[in-house]
Symmetry: C2
Subunit: 344 residues, 2 copies
Amino acid sequence: MATPNHPFLAACRREPTSFTPVWLMRQAGRYMEEYRKLRAQHGFLELCKKSDLATEITVTPVEKLGVDAAILFADILLILEPMGVGLEYSKGDGPVLHHPVRSGKDVDGLKEFNVETELSYVYESVKKIRKELKNKVPLIGFAGAPFTLASYLIEGAGSRNYVHTKRLFYSAPEAWKRLMERLAKVIGEYLNCQIAAGAQAVQIFDSWAGCLTPNDYEQFVQPYTKAVIDAVTPGVPVINFSTGTTGLLKNIRAAGGDVIGLDWRVNLDEGWAAVGHDVAVQGNLDPVALFASPKEIKSRVAEILKRAAGRPGHIFNLGHGVLPETPVDHVIAMVDAVHELSAR
Amino acid sequence: MATPNHPFLAACRREPTSFTPVWLMRQAGRYMEEYRKLRAQHGFLELCKKSDLATEITVTPVEKLGVDAAILFADILLILEPMGVGLEYSKGDGPVLHHPVRSGKDVDGLKEFNVETELSYVYESVKKIRKELKNKVPLIGFAGAPFTLASYLIEGAGSRNYVHTKRLFYSAPEAWKRLMERLAKVIGEYLNCQIAAGAQAVQIFDSWAGCLTPNDYEQFVQPYTKAVIDAVTPGVPVINFSTGTTGLLKNIRAAGGDVIGLDWRVNLDEGWAAVGHDVAVQGNLDPVALFASPKEIKSRVAEILKRAAGRPGHIFNLGHGVLPETPVDHVIAMVDAVHELSAR
């Protein structure tokens, strides 16, 4: 299917656009009634694995919100399931791995698997979504970054301090290297399968990199994120997303990506200057700001657009995902404000 | 009691010292057997309120670790108890406030109280600790910063996204202002009472400021933290501590303090340059690094000292508190490494 030059894709390439494109992380999620209804009837994994459901969930917010890109409905941990770590999406507590990786032996015990066949349900969804979207907006595929996935593999669940993760790279750097190389390889293949199925851009989520020192990022993370990004099919824009990483922005830039994600903890102009104006940026409204009044939201959108200064290569987004209790009409107000205030 | 020019106090004033002084946040805490034994016999509030126990807990790590300062054993939330918000230290889950503040009416319903009499147990501890320390090392008093205390008052417990807190300043800025002014006033009085009782420096903990945008910090937080710092008895060094605030460092500096806390998410030299070399800095080892081998710890200490470049005004510390499972001998190895490697 041919890809017209959508504003989102143009902005990824820092080409001028007639307005600033906008989408939201977790734009398909619990804050939306349509999603909650489906979720009440199906388990989370089922929503990811049944491509008709994943398609419906992906497409609904595009029409409802008027955003400029769709993002595949899936989860960063799906790729860990075929590794035999006992992934379970438990109710309320978030996902858990029953067999976390804590040693070199555990690393070597991770199952090898065929990324194309074992995760084929994801590519099925991508194909159906592309068909459903009828090229109105492009589709973004995604994967977790090696560090964020390694942390999940090692901690076995969400973590506050990442003690097991850091202890592995402090005390068993060779095991860490093997784990990260393995992850980088499968993540790269996974993204390219999504692209082959029709994804027109990909985002790499390094949601937890913000717990790291710049040195640890540079030594233990950067080479593997870079390997993933270098492996992505040429010509497909890559968004390198992280949060809480204001002190690491130079390293994150060095890891690569056509677009660098900025969160709300840094002013957009300062973050853009830190990563360099020769790369596009995505961000950076505080997700909590969507709980403010539409008037206040508009004023905050204006502030961010002012800092972007009309420079080509700005994709408007939140600094992290939409929160579950967010009012839908506030999200729509934000999208409308971006389009209205950025019209050139 | 006269205060000799201890290295810690000299460093707060950016005077040259013969080695880099070091202490640790939560150096008296769960990682230490002596503390766990006392905690098994007494409730947490009891440990804070019985000045003999608080004194013992404060002094023990000074002798055991060889650090260059003591920090009062207490809790940032003690100041909220007389406000009538139903503070309870529940087992395991952390502290809870049974009557959180969610509106202007709630703000106005907070009890007025006499900071000198209602928290006199804290000042009793300060006096006993000073006596016990015999001027071997100085004693640091402390309080929560207005924002971090306001967040606790509003959320009623620890929080991930601070939705209630931000919603209050978005939607009821006048109520927010009244709350922050009230907090700034009592915090300033509280610190000055600690100083009158013998505290030789004070640290203001803005542990949660890292959730804010630079604009929100500047508008809704900075004036009140500044009011606290401006109110502190002249001549007593103030440490302005926060975490996750790499993008806010200029604003944090503008709020004031003789010493600015830096966490491990920024390189010490870059953080120091951001706040300016005309102020001292404290930090910035990752608390998780204490789980590495003593050899690795030493190498990380060396790296931080190298970035400090022998410039007067560096106080070595972690970027946040000692974690509960930290091996005590690793903490001692860190303190020894700082002293050995920084000897001039």
